[in-house]
Symmetry: C2
DNA sequence: TTTACTGCAAATATTTTGCAATATC
DNA sequence: GATATTGCAAAATATTTGCAGTAAA
């Protein structure tokens, strides 16, 4: 991620914490920084591993707490694509692509589609204030389709 | 659900079981029938409760197994909107609406949008065979927006 | 007759919670 | 100094698995 973008969204995080009178702890910023280092999806386990690698230990309780705060702040998106674990992604990434989910192997491919994004922006709904969108397209990836054809099922 | 529609999708289920050489058990059809009685989303617990009410006991293992079969058959859609439990819905319903998910209270409202459906039908993706899609619009429902405004947060 | 399917119970995995200690404001 | 936040461990919850018995093909 560009340093400029990182600085911008970090400022949004600080702004949110101030506004909600939440504390600016070292743990929260360390977790936030690590999240920004992921190029795409991640789960709690991956996040925890990365933090341990950097010798910054945080408890599971704090991880979940911080993720809740970031989701509430609108900076991180929660994806429940596979049953478990829940996957997360930076909102600035999620907004620009849709997700192709293979119903056979569970693999997820991201697809940029700015036209669709524009369509979504124009969506008007009564008694509801849209914040962001997630479009999941379920189907067969090419590998699984090939396997199914070969097995004749 | 209309009797005609029920008969049609039940036939599709039978066709799928035959094609995959899976067995046509009483449990599978009882579960399928109960699913068709739900007007919208349901989870494993709700499904189990309804079956018990009708004095048809099935084990959790069978419930999960049958749901997997129905999802594989493309007759039921799996929604992972809340962390747990996983929610399901008949595919014929899911295709015709998008989901408005409140980020505050978790409430889900369904919105019919046939224009969007047409857009999705036209979606072409390389090395991927789309089967169905789910569009989740996250945001604030009117109740939560009102509460937030009153609390001044 | 073969073996896929079922029920039950135990195992697994993730997320949540309670509480004492700590650090932010 | 008040209290939000943290870490740890235990609890809660959903889903999966192993295995013996049952029933569909």
């Amino acid at each position: 991620m560009e340093a400029k973008v990182y600085t911008e969204i970090r400022a949004l995080f600080t702004e949110y914490l101030t506004e909600k009178k939440l504390r600016k702890t070292e743990e929260r910023y360390a977790i936030f920084k690590e999240i920004c280092a992921f190029p795409g999806h991640f789960d709690v386990c991956m996040l925890s591993d990365r933090l341990e690698q950097d010798n910054f230990h945080v408890s599971k309780a704090t991880l979940y707490n911080t993720l809740d705060v970031l989701v509430d702040a609108g900076l991180v998106v929660r994806h429940q694509i596979t049953v478990q674990p829940v996957q997360y992604e930076l909102r600035i990434y999620a907004d620009t692509h849709l997700h192709l989910v293979c119903t056979r192997c569970g693999g997820i491919r991201e697809l940029r589609n700015s036209a669709l994004k524009a369509d979504m922006r124009n969506l008007k709904v009564s008694r509801f204030t849209p914040e962001y969108y997630c479009l999941y397209v379920y189907g067969l990836c090419s590998k699984c389709k090939f396997k199914l054809q070969r097995s004749g099922k």
